[in-house]
Symmetry: C2
Subunit: 149 residues, 2 copies
């Protein structure tokens, strides 16, 4: 057993031996001030556990894909769009994102929004919305306000 079976938490939602990664490559998709840390990726588990953190006023990419997400908020407050609905989220809330649901997270103005996301290790690439998809999403006033550029 290597001594690394524990990776201790460090201040500021960082972990020993866990690299702070860019959320996505710049220019790949619209997002604002998001970081990513890969907490668990083991061949024996079919899933990964990641920690994403969106800075205050930041947001993740509006996207959808075949694979599902299982999310637990770890810090901060914000809101998420899943499918056609927007909900406020706070610490330890659970968010289920099913296949092909449009989804996006936004941090409140005052603090970062950090969350765990469990996902299949093998998964498809996200799709970005087309102009038609955006027009359809914006039929809901609530959604239109949420996905503002």
């Amino acid at each position: 057993m290597s001594k690394s079976f524990i990776r201790h938490a460090q201040p500021g939602f960082r972990w020993e031996d866990v690299e702070l990664l860019a959320y996505k490559a710049a220019g790949e998709a619209p997002f604002r001030e998001v970081t990513r840390q890969l907490l668990f990726r083991a061949d024996a588990l079919g899933c990964e556990l990641r920690y994403f953190e969106i800075a205050a006023k930041g947001h993740s990419t509006l996207e959808r894909h075949q694979h599902a997400h299982a999310v637990m908020i770890l810090r901060g407050r914000g809101a998420c769009l899943v499918g056609g609905e927007v909900r406020a989220v706070g610490p330890h809330d659970l968010v289920s994102i099913e296949a092909w649901s449009w989804h996006q997270f936004r941090a409140n103005a005052a603090e970062p929004l950090g969350f765990l996301c469990m996902v299949n290790a093998e998964r498809d690439r996200p799709q970005l919305p087309t102009a038609d998809d955006l027009a359809q999403l914006r039929q809901s006033r609530e959604v239109a306000a949420f996905i503002r550029p």
Copy 2:
């Protein structure tokens, strides 16, 4: 999209629409004051995310199995045995339990120890230690002190 895509956290590390379950059937294996909540189990994900809580002074079963565990401490402090080593754990620490590693968690005297555990949805049953296994584990004084009855 059903309105249940969010299950809000409730006081005391409980969640909306998540049942508080017994850790194991009584008599099935040695443990003390542990509860279990199944936070995510979706067919689309090959894994489950569970929340276990061990009451102050309680402990999980000393066991091993082929499947792996990926653990994040969520509340409290305690210690864990993995393989032949004992480590202190606290909030947000990450614990990797590989195939066939003996493992056990203990809560400190002062507060419950709560943790997330990601695991394969399809998995083998845990094995309990034989007398020979226990004798071997107890060759380490640290481990012997930890796995006291």
